[in-house]
């Protein structure tokens, strides 16, 4: 019963092959079996999940117009607010925080009849690429439990890869959906900035954050994205737009499409196994009738530095509200207002979070603002320009997601090296364009290699089409 796609489950439920309650119980069983080893979940909401499943079974979600997600169990990253369910952002400072409201995307999933199994692990406040900075647990890569699942949406990826959920929601600021998806051998999409409401997503860097689906297959991913996009008047940065069904034309293949190969993404830092896997995938596209085009994205050199300045700066402001006054962790000992703040935040935040807050505070200070934050914003406009001109020469860009496959847990890298792991993903977030990550081969240690497909704003249908073509190459109908 488990290890099927959303699509398959949806048909099975419709045919009453099994009930949603049975399906949910099966996944809860998997969770129980695997959690000790994998550690995807921070909070499992078994009762609420079974209740939602029961509601599906008793209701009429099978009627026309019902969402394909109805009755199907999923997991939600723990930085997305769920009413009445603890939302911790994997931080001690929010260990007991229960939001009084649902995030917009959660409302949408609930209305579609989704069954939420629980909240999954992540790097604390989404800052990291391993999920190792979580205050509560270390999540393991289900394909090799000595390796990281990636981050910050590590739990979202591991849950799906380990069949502890049919699909999950993750979030990205600089690759936090795509990288764990690629490390765990599954599919992740970072949608165009503004297409999915951020209302209810605990903010890390407001001008970059986006929620996106993590799934087993490309078609599944399109189904989930269908359910969560759309204008939300509670999010002023959410776009007013009519979205087509993202599965439209998904089987149309890639004949005649121009696929850009950005030379900067295949230069020094990339490992050979990753490089050859992605090149082979590009070759497959050529065999399927696409044209490969050499393009250049020169701003890659500075995009990473600008990214860290922008995100740390915005984070230093977004995380200032965690002060122990109205909610969250408050230190037990303090003798002044200043101490209340200092002690609560020093004790409640983890090391990586504190580091980024301090960097961001400095970057925004009046002496540094022009040289750092303002400069970073200007670099950002160059990144946007680079992509615009690249998309004049090609329809889609193919690139690696990370320089390596999933690495060993505890493999201490120096901080700059760790941040360098984001070099291929952050330009997409800086430009606000969408990117789809999917597996394209095997690399070192038998671990999956992920490739990403980038497109212009709102080109998700095209990305799904190109991704689907690779995923189902050799099968009839492409």
């Amino acid at each position: 019963m488990i290890n099927r796609s959303i699509y398959e489950h949806s048909i099975a439920l419709g045919k009453k092959e099994y009930s949603s309650v049975e399906l949910t119980k099966a996944y809860l069983c998997e969770i129980e079996k695997k959690e000790e080893e994998i550690g995807s979940y921070i909070t499992v909401t078994a009762d609420m999940a079974l209740e939602a499943a029961k509601k599906y079974d008793e209701g009429d979600f099978t009627s026309k117009g019902a969402s394909p997600l109805a009755g199907i169990p999923c997991a939600i990253k723990d930085n997305i607010c769920t009413k009445g369910i603890r939302t911790t952002c994997a931080s001690k400072i929010l260990e007991d925080f229960v939001p009084p409201y649902d995030a917009h995307v959660v409302e949408k999933l609930n209305n579609a009849g989704a069954v939420i199994l629980g909240k999954v692990n992540m790097d604390e406040f989404a800052m990291g690429s391993t999920s190792g900075s979580s205050a509560f647990k270390v999540t393991k890569n289900p394909l090799d439990v000595t390796r990281v699942p990636g981050g910050s949406s590590g739990g979202s990826a591991s849950a799906v890869a380990a069949n502890e959920a049919v699909y999950s929601l993750g979030s990205e600021t600089g690759g936090s959906i795509r990288q764990p998806a690629s490390f765990c051998g599954i599919v992740g999409m970072k949608p165009t900035y503004g297409s999915v409401s951020r209302y209810g997503l605990v903010a890390y860097a407001s001008s970059l954050d986006q929620i996106g689906p993590v799934t087993k297959t490309v078609a599944d991913n399109a189904l989930v994205l269908n359910a969560i996009v759309g204008h939300d008047k509670r999010d002023s940065t959410s776009v007013c737009r009519e979205y087509v069904d993202f599965t439209t034309g998904i089987k149309s293949g890639v004949k005649g499409l121009k696929i850009g190969i950005p030379k900067e993404f295949f230069a020094e830092s990339i490992n050979e196994d990753v490089k050859s896997a992605v090149f082979l995938a590009a070759e497959e596209y050529r065999k399927m009738g696409a044209e490969l085009v050499q393009i250049t994205l020169p701003s890659l050199d500075w995009a990473l530095s600008a990214y860290y300045i922008i995100t740390c700066s915005e984070a230093s402001s977004n995380l200032a509200r965690f002060d122990g006054i109205r909610f969250g962790y408050r230190a037990e000992e303090y003798s002044s207002m200043d101490e209340l703040y200092k002690n609560s935040r020093s004790e409640g935040f983890g090391w990586e979070v504190k580091k980024r807050i301090m960097l961001g505070t400095m970057a925004l200070s009046s002496e540094c603002y022009d040289a750092y934050y303002k400069k970073a914003l200007q670099v950002r406009s160059l990144v946007i320009k680079d992509f615009k001109s690249a998309f004049n020469q090609c329809d889609v860009i193919i690139a690696p997601v990370a320089p390596t496959v999933a690495y060993k847990i505890g493999e201490e890298k120096d901080p700059i090296q760790t941040y360098m792991g984001d070099v291929y993903t952050v330009p997409v977030n800086m430009a606000g364009i969408p990117a789809l990550s999917l597996p394209c081969g095997i690399g070192e240690g038998g671990m999956p290699v992920g490739m990403q497909l980038m497109g212009p704003a709102f080109s998700e249908p095209l990305l799904y089409r190109v991704g689907y073509a690779y995923e189902n190459r050799g099968k009839a109908g492409i």
Partner: protein, 485 residues
């Protein structure tokens, strides 16, 4: 104030005071600036809050359009340029009454810039520059309880504010008060705020420095905050000016700091010395779109602004020949000014309408703002009858009182009840003679030389006429008859 005293106050050793005012005004919108909570004053603590204004994780601000509208109206009414493009910025600092630990404000691209207000004081007319007006959100309120400690009420969090920053053009406490009064009345006319200092919808911070007259460089300034009445503002300015001058004369340097005014002692005290300027790490608010206003939008908004006091006073003087004083009183309340204009347009005697409003009607209005139970047309009719001497002033007063209780057409009433003034000298003579007959003592006093005794006769003649006699003719005839005796 004696002239000598005032001079001593204003100018010590040729030092002038240089003052800039920062005024915060709460805008009168139904809901807060970034969420739909109510802005109503006086609710139970923490009953007008939601996840957004409480700064809960994951919440986002949404700009209330009405805030931009009202703020732009104030900008237009103070002769500012309204920016076609402005944006919000985050002002970051930690304080318990600020839930997000940043205030969403406007830093380098405010909504309005480069305006001015004309003021008039005893020293003459002057224009005070307005550097800028920007929109921002208010913070909560800290309440200090001796037993429970410090508690926070977040109802006020997110109430929309405009901050109006003046140029340092003010040179005296009198000018400061005149500026504030002018600002207040102009804002009341736009309907943007109810400007009640006692409810906190108008707050003023004073920046004051001193320098020798003729010097162009600005001295070191201090900031005085939370002065909650115009009177306290005046007193604080006077004290602080003196303190700074005396300190400089002693060879001390003025420290740039925030000072608190103590109403009881009339003195200012240092609040914080070390941080003169906090680094607020301003950066553009990423959760909000920039505010883009078209010229057409601005033009349409201009049409919604009523004629302002200065223009009305000018009109009253030119069109109705009213005095400056009359203009001042009538425009002090827009409802009264509107009423006056409506009645004045219907009568040949606008001056009489102005008089009646100031003497009779204002006395009867018990509420805070102007109301009048008499319709403008009826008031106009009354003024016409008074002007044409159809009725005398005593009758006017009586009619006003009756019309206040229950409005009616005074022309009809005068006709029906025969209240018209009698101007027939023959008839009046008979009343005068009757009065003389009834008051032999007063007559005798008058003959003895006590001219004021005629008053009693006049009064009696008026009474005998049941108040209808033309009082001027009565007086004339009384005096002529008495002289004949």
């Amino acid at each position: 104030m004696k002239i000598a005293e005032r001079q001593a106050f204003e100018v010590i050793n040729n030092y002038e005071m240089v003052i800039g005012l920062e005024v915060h005004v709460e805008l009168k919108t139904a809901s807060k600036i970034f969420c739909s909570c109510s802005t109503a004053f006086g609710a139970e603590p923490n009953t007008q809050v939601c996840p957004v204004c409480m700064g809960l994780p994951g919440t986002l601000p949404v700009l209330n359009e009405k805030v931009v509208e009202l703020a732009a109206k104030v900008g237009l009414a103070t002769n500012c340029r309204i920016a076609n493009f402005s944006k919000n910025d985050r002002k970051n600092y930690f304080y318990p009454d600020l839930p997000k630990a940043y205030q969403i404000s406007q830093f380098d691209r405010p909504l309005c810039e480069g305006g001015y207000l004309n003021i008039e004081t005893e020293s003459g007319k002057k224009s005070i520059g307005i550097t800028r007006i920007h929109i921002e959100e208010d913070a909560g309120k800290l309440i200090h309880d001796p037993e429970k400690g410090t508690m926070i009420d977040y109802n006020r969090c997110g109430v929309p504010l405009i901050e109006i920053v003046s140029e340092p053009d003010i040179r005296s406490a009198e000018e400061a008060k005149a500026y504030l009064q002018k600002l207040r009345i102009v804002i009341l006319y736009t309907g943007a705020s109810d400007c009640k200092m006692n409810e906190g919808s108008l707050r003023c911070d004073v920046n004051l420095s001193v320098r020798k007259i003729g010097e162009t460089k600005l001295g070191v300034r201090t900031e005085m905050k939370n002065l909650n009445s115009f009177q306290f503002i005046g007193k604080a300015i006077e004290y602080e000016y003196k303190r700074q001058v005396e300190a400089i004369e002693r060879g001390e340097k003025i420290i740039q700091e925030t000072r608190r005014f103590d109403a009881n002692s009339g003195k200012t005290y240092s609040m914080r010395t070390k941080e003169n300027m906090s680094d607020y790490r301003y950066f553009p608010e990423p959760d909000l779109l920039p505010i883009e206003l078209s010229d057409i939008w601005i033009e349409e908004l201009i049409k919604t602004i009523p004629m302002l006091p200065d223009e009305r006073k000018k009109m009253y003087a030119e069109k109705y020949y009213l005095s400056a004083y009359d203009g001042e009183v009538l425009t002090s309340d827009m409802a009264m000014a509107d009423y006056f204009e409506s009645a004045a347009s219907k009568t040949k005697n606008p001056k009489l309408v102005a008089n009646m409003l100031q003497s009779e009607i204002m006395a009867m209005t018990e509420t805070d703002g102007f109301i009048c139970n008499i319709s403008p047309s009826h008031m106009a009719a009354l003024a016409d009858m008074a002007g044409s001497e159809t009725i005398n002033s005593a009758t006017v007063k009586k009619l006003i009182k009756r019309m206040w209780e229950s409005d009616f057409d005074p022309v009809e009433a005068v006709e029906k009840e025969g209240l018209a003034q009698v101007n027939d000298e023959a008839v009046i003579l008979s009343w005068v003679n009757e009065a003389i007959e009834l008051n032999p003592k007063s007559v005798a006093d008058y003959k003895k030389g006590k001219k004021t005794a005629a008053k009693a006769i006049i009064g009696k003649a008026m009474a005998v006429s049941a108040g209808k006699a033309n009082p001027i003719l009565v007086q004339k005839l009384v005096e002529s008859e008495l002289d004949k005796i």
